[in-house]
Symmetry: C2
């Protein structure tokens, strides 16, 4: 029974009061170096690990943070993004003895309810707000609840502390890359319009084209899914004036788009250049390997964890900008060939 050792046992074993044990083990002042040594030794011998239960009641913290992932009931497959993002969160919080409570919710209403219950039961000390939507109701919710929260890649002016990774630079690089390859008609497969990051990426695409004096190519709204990419390709490539290059709002939809384009008989990148956004591992192994914009989900998660813990400690947390997502050129983009 490795875990049954309590602070009382340690105190008894070291011959001191439990308050001294608490102080010593938490690095607080008011304990002589000698006593501290003794206590640390006793704790080590006994294999003492403080109970989160006790700490949380006394400390008014739960030592847990929450993330609610909202996914369509039919597509409960997690976006490849999440693995690294979650790992990033943990890389920071674990060392500080926090744990991540993960919930999945099939619908929007359920998502709000999840956040509400996490807060109501004082189950978590703070939450991450990912995949932020326009007028996201979670913002008001966490405000009402007084729940510390960190936004992931929100718009400028987002009212909560946030972690952002610039998307504009990478998209500008990508457009420049395509323009240099001779592309003049560059289409876009977006994500659902309600997401901030959908809009951001589309706006950056549009602006970058303008910089090069180009009109926006065709736009199709996808869904950040493989299936959405397939549908987008079907739609976009059926149109009379098809583009010579298509930028997709994420890798998963780019994969679907590319697969469908190939299925329809287009050579990628010969007939059509295709790019993604995210930089998931899978893209590297596709045929052709996917040109994309490499994001840092692990880093993003790590910074988000850091900020959230600061907020929980009542510290003033400043927004964090991590290094801009950058273009990774692989083989799915190539020289433009006149549309035949």
């Amino acid at each position: 029974m490795a875990g049954r050792v309590t602070i009382t046992d340690v105190a008894a074993h070291a011959g001191v009061a439990i308050s001294s044990v608490s102080s010593a083990l938490n690095g607080r002042p008011g304990v002589s170096e000698q006593t501290r040594q003794k206590i640390v030794e006793a704790a080590r011998e006994l294999g003492f690990v403080p109970s989160v239960r006790g700490k949380s009641l006394a400390g008014k913290k739960t030592f847990a943070v929450g993330l609610v992932v909202h996914r369509d009931p039919d597509v409960l497959e997690l976006d490849p993004f999440f693995g690294a993002f979650i790992n990033g969160i943990e890389s920071w919080i674990d060392e500080r003895d926090f744990a991540l409570v993960l919930q999945t919710s099939p619908d929007a209403a359920g998502t709000l309810e999840r956040y509400r219950r996490l807060a109501a039961g004082r189950r978590v000390d703070g939450v991450f707000l990912n995949e932020i939507e326009i007028d996201d109701p979670r913002v008001e919710l966490v405000r009402d609840l007084g729940l510390p929260a960190v936004g992931i890649n929100p718009d400028a002016g987002f009212p909560l502390p946030s972690v952002r990774q610039d998307h504009r630079a990478g998209i500008e690089q990508l457009v420049a890359h395509l323009v240099e390859l001779g592309h003049r008609s560059i289409g876009f497969v977006g994500g659902p319009d309600r997401f901030i990051h959908s809009r951001q990426r589309e706006a950056a695409w549009r602006d970058s084209l303008a910089t090069h004096g180009l009109e926006p190519g065709p736009v199709v709204q996808g869904s950040f899914t493989y299936e959405g990419g397939i549908e987008a390709a079907t739609t976009m490539l059926a149109a009379r004036a098809r583009p010579t290059a298509v930028m997709c709002a994420n890798d998963l939809s780019a994969m679907g788009f590319m697969a469908q384009a190939q299925h329809l008989g287009y050579d990628v990148p010969g007939d059509l250049s295709v790019s993604g956004y995210d930089g998931i591992q899978l893209g590297e192994y596709l045929r052709p390997a996917l040109t994309t914009i490499q994001t840092q989900p692990r880093k993003t998660g790590c910074e988000a964890g850091r900020i959230l813990l600061e907020l929980i400690d009542g510290l003033p947390a400043a927004d964090v900008d991590i290094a801009p997502a950058a273009l990774v050129v692989r083989s799915s983009t190539g020289p433009a060939r006149p549309v035949g």
Copy 2:
């Protein structure tokens, strides 16, 4: 401040003792119907939600269960399987006010350490043991720790309560399907040898072939990843005697395998039939759509959650078998054509 109401407030508001509030709200006997009404009403008015903190200290439970996902540091993309599995767990535990603590660990040693710390800090009341390996050290660990645990798809004779979904039936159906299509040389792309489910699937493949009087085709060990599928295809299709059909141990590797086969100029299923295992959503949209064996990760998660909660309550939990994974024929398998 929706969450700041404590049991004391409710007791005061209802003019009763906190012990009565506790009894009434937890549906325990010893409270008159009239008093119960009064208390319920007071709780409702005040918006009382019991604090998990308090409950956990007093009740000697944390109301949380843990899952550690072990992934290669370079591939922190979660297997599509996990989304539905996690959702299944939650579908059961949420209603019972349990939460899921998710951790990711890049290496095996770290995984053990995660479990150990979850237990030591009494952070969770029980854990799920997924992707079980031969002589899995976690088994001994949870035994030593006295930590309730549920195995996911272990071998027969696994010493802990488990949830299993039969794999043999589906694989037999698949082999029968291929044999009927005229295939006589059926290869296999396995998962890492240390996993129980890798071995199970390979054994079932081998046995099913024997049933049909067939020799096992070529075997390549993959890694359950897309990349592994690519490598497997490269290896297997370079051999002089290539099979006419290949069964992959999961969908992700089947996707990689198929992509690489196509890249190498093979038509699927014309030249080569390819199948997966899992039944992830993505497979449906591939070109050709992936023939696979449909598992029930959500159901598996749900049942695992149910059993684990029973164990935590000290109830004797029996193993659960959910309906066998069944063959789903799509377009990646077709009539055998003599190897040219």
